[in-house]
Amino acid sequence: MLRLHGNCLAKYWKTETVHELSVCQSTVSQVEEIAAKHSATGVSLIKLQIGPLSGIETTLLQQAFHIAKAGTIAEDARLEIEELPVRVQCKSCHTETDASTNRLVCSQCGDWQTTIISGDEMLLASIELIK
């Protein structure tokens, strides 16, 4: 049996079973890597882009960020989250329209066969480094 000891930070998290903490920890380690590559002494700002179809709850992400950044080079960084809208393009009439997370149909012709153009992003957009 493989037993995971988990991250000790998880015990300080009031709801232990959220994946936003894992996402945040992964983000912070990416930021640490970039900061080291650029010989930065600190990080002032981290900008993310999140779409609702990524499955990330931005409020929880903001809370988890305080835990994840503690003791790292990003300790004093501010987290800015740009929430992107859900947009789809219809495969039959090719119109681009807004959509809601659980109704990704074309609002022009009603066809359900659409492609997501925006709304599933979970991106580290940019960071600002202190040198």
Binding site: Q30, G55, L104, S126
Partner: protein, 260 residues
């Protein structure tokens, strides 16, 4: 979405990569670095590595997701019983605690690795990697990964598998795809499970569940099955056979479309 082909540059962020290029200076004199990488890049890197392991050995990997108690383990037991002579199968089990599910699978004569996640609500690519190294992939055809019972978190983590199968048991309500769109949008197959109970329920319509799935612009097949009385299982087995052949004899472009 990946970090290599440029599909992560969307109309909303393209201004960041245009203009002055990747590096610029802010008004406070700090250096701004454009990154545009998936927040789970580390996990995705590990997932690609897992996928390579599977490909090298011609193994089909299926990620099974659902609410707790929708019958994932029972489905796997029935699957192992029927396909055990046709394919060499192994199962990776994800649960917060206990080795119960792995023991159920092992009693069917199939190797099973239990991952107990403690407080974690999902499996990730690193956990699956550890489990994979406890299996002899060269002797296997199919690996089923039974994810932690949860309709939210597992959807965000690529494990290196080829296909997502989501179970929806008839006791849960036919509007589950509308309530959990992230999970059901990512499904390559929706299995409506415990169909033997349908006759006792007057508020679950498989057609309605399928309509909710289509509303998510998902063309994945929907099958109604019962592990208990074997109803509908033959179509599930045929689906597995077809997917196995795609991995064993891949057509050009198959791997590019897996989990893109």
């Amino acid at each position: 979405m990946c970090n290599t082909c440029g599909c992560n540059v969307t109309p909303g962020n393209e201004h960041l990569v245009k203009g002055d290029g990747k590096l610029s200076t802010t008004e406070h004199g700090n250096e701004s670095v454009t990154v545009l990488k998936n927040l789970l890049s580390e996990n995705d890197r590990q997932a690609s590595h897992n996928r390579e392991h599977f490909h090298k050995n011609g193994v089909l990997a299926i990620n099974l997701m659902s609410s707790p108690g929708s019958g994932k383990t029972a489905l796997l037991e029935a699957t192992v019983e029927s396909l055990g002579n046709e394919f060499n199968i192994a199962v990776i089990e994800g649960d917060l605690e206990t080795e119960n599910d792995a023991e159920r699978i092992r009693s069917k004569g199939v190797p099973a690795i239990q991952i107990t996640t403690g407080s974690a609500c999902h499996l990730d690519a690193h956990m699956v990697h550890d489990a994979v190294h406890n299996l002899d992939l060269s002797a296997l055809d199919i690996v089923f990964i039974e994810n932690v019972g949860n309709l939210v978190c597992p959807a965000s983590f690529d494990l290196g598998h080829h296909r997502n199968v989501t179970l929806l048991s008839v006791t849960e309500g036919d509007d589950k795809p509308a309530k959990y769109p992230v999970m059901f949008r990512a499904s390559d197959l929706m299995l409506i499970s415990k169909s033997d109970l349908l006759e006792y329920l007057d508020d679950f319509e498989p057609e309605k569940a399928e309509r909710h799935l289509r509303d998510l612009a998902n063309a994945a097949p929907a099958m109604t099955v019962s592990a208990k009385n074997s109803d509908g299982l033959s179509q599930w087995f045929d689906w597995i056979r077809a997917e196995y052949n795609k991995v064993k004899l891949p057509e050009p472009g198959f791997f590019e479309h897996v989990n893109s």
